[in-house]
Symmetry: C2
Subunit: 326 residues, 2 copies
DNA sequence: ATAGATGCAAACCCTTTGCACATTA
DNA sequence: TAATGTGCAAAGGGTTTGCATCTAT
């Protein structure tokens, strides 16, 4: 969040030092500023910038995507910087007027469903939960300002947590699969993957630790990302399916399904976020899961080939069992 | 939606014919009115009512729950009557400025989850999907006004559809259970329940037919209620669990789980709605499911008792199998 | 009689605009 | 210089408020 290497401001027809100045102030201020808040901030420094210019600049920032306009129903607009911060939803305390951000894949997928049922092309989704925040309920007057300053970090933290949980789940799955595998070659594959999961897990945990070290109070913060149908559940249910009767081929298939689901999940949501650490974590993890998936596919094919070869050496039988209809 | 028997207006400190008049106009107008829209309507009739009074009355209606204030980001508030209309969410076309209503249990349960994770006490949830509506995408300029006039009917329609789907699912479950039941007495229970489901199904379908008859274009309207995790899925998965190996006791248990889940679902969401036909459908259905549940419980207990009695007549064994730890 | 409701117009607040002037390409 | 950006103040729109005047209890 430091000096920010200015990612080439979207083209205005002409340059303007005043606009640059306003944008700079805005970009370095996390939280939800109203036009007047920003005007005040701008006035504190360089003088001679009019209110109208602030309004016009805000408008321009929204058009070019540098800012997002939010309306908390206060009768005036607020603006939030959009760089490096994923789109998100808000919990809004109507008593102390602070807001808390969160993000959810479930809501997004739900919105997709509703919109497509109506042939509606959504551009933006607003989710606001109004109510009373924890502190106001307890009567702790203090409150201070929005603590959304760390949203980018919270996002990274939760992305890592999800990746770690998924990795753990995967590790468990492969450990379990190793135990069940009957064929020594199959066992080796699962052992290898278990090993990989262990390595990745260690990497992710190190990364998590580092993040926490650089930002110690991060750990105690509440959740930002909510993914009810998160990918780690996939492996958990996959592991459940690994009952003693399952053979190597089936185990491979289950593993493939899990890795593929996990890959799709992380990729799909990762690609929706704004450029950020959290996004990177999602996409990197998605790539890893894809690699695992591909490895499993190769092994699966190899196993099938071996079996087919074996079958050729034994009395020929029906090649495939036709699935019962209905 | 007729003459409306006026459900005792929440007490204002003093009566006022003007306020009554404004409220009356508002209540009989479906859709989202701005203060000025309402002022115009009021002015059309009785003259001599000032804009301020309209504002004050709207404020009072919101306070007393007669109206809900909504903000579509137009820079002015809109108001919708809340009687007989469930809280709902909005799809908002930013091109033609119409809005479409929908409702979802998933969002509500999701919001509960997020809020409780933060110790936040929610009072109201705003979900707005902005974008372009079907017609505007196709370039059909017409559009007319909001067609939310029929929301109450759509709500009833979808409630009936859900109830019917659940009933069908239940019927399938009990038919399946009848086939599987080994004990003749158990079979009779399932047959009885299948019969009940058939009867209820017929009732519901008749009700649905009647609704459609009174409002023919209702059938072609898009969905209003979205319940991804709807209760009919319960019975479907219940039926899946009825594999040949399952005995009567297990089947009863599965049935109980389904009926109980279904009951809770319909009751939980039904109780959240405003007074309306749809709400009544939900709650009535919830009651039916509860009855089924209780019948199953009785049968289950009877079966257990019979088995215990039988066991007493045979060499005594361990009464319960201790569950493996972990 | 008295608290509460109303109309009117003025005040408020946030935001946009017109216009003369300053900057930038 | 020609096209844009800017400051100021004024206008705009939605909403609230002060105050004298009604009205219900």
């Amino acid at each position: 969040m430091g000096g920010s290497p200015r990612p080439a401001l979207p083209a205005a027809r002409k340059h303007s030092s005043k606009r640059d100045y306003i944008v700079d102030i805005f970009r370095h201020h996390e939280g939800h500023l109203s036009a007047d808040d920003l005007f005040d901030l701008v006035r504190q420094g360089k003088t001679g910038i009019g209110r109208a210019t602030v309004y016009r600049t805000l408008q321009w920032m929204v058009e070019t995507g540098l800012a997002r306009k939010v309306d908390f129903g206060e009768g005036r607009a607020r603006f939030e910087a959009s760089e490096r911060r994923p789109r998100h939803f808000h919990l809004i305390c109507d008593r102390c007027h602070r807001s808390f951000e969160f993000l959810s894949s479930d809501v997004e997928s739900f919105v997709d469903e509703v919109a497509s049922a109506r042939g509606f092309a959504p551009t933006q989704t607003v989710v606001q939960v109004h109510g009373t925040c924890d502190e106001c309920q307890k009567g702790v007057g203090a409150g201070a300002t929005d603590d959304n300053a760390t949203t980018a970090f919270l996002f990274a933290r939760d992305a890592l947590r999800m990746a770690i949980a998924t990795e753990r789940s995967g590790l468990e799955f492969y450990t379990c699969a190793t135990r069940i595998a009957s064929d020594p070659r199959g066992r080796r594959v699962f052992e290898k993957l278990a090993g990989e999961e262990r390595t990745h897990l260690a990497t992710l945990q190190a990364r998590y630790k580092e993040l926490i070290k650089s930002n110690p109070d991060l750990e105690s913060r509440p959740a930002f990302l909510f993914f009810k149908g998160a990918a780690s559940g996939l492996f958990a249910s996959g592991a459940q399916q690994l009952t003693p009767g399952v053979d190597d081929e089936q185990a491979l298939r289950i593993g493939m399904k899990c890795e593929r689901g996990s890959h799709l999940f992380f990729k799909r949501y990762g690609s929706r976020f704004e450029e950020s650490e959290g996004k990177r974590i999602f996409l990197e993890f998605a790539a890893e899961e894809r690699d695992h998936f591909e490895l499993l596919v190769r092994e699966y094919r190899a196993l099938r080939a071996r079996r087919a070869a074996h079958r050729r050496r034994t009395p020929p039988r029906r090649h495939a069992v036709a699935r019962r209809a209905r």
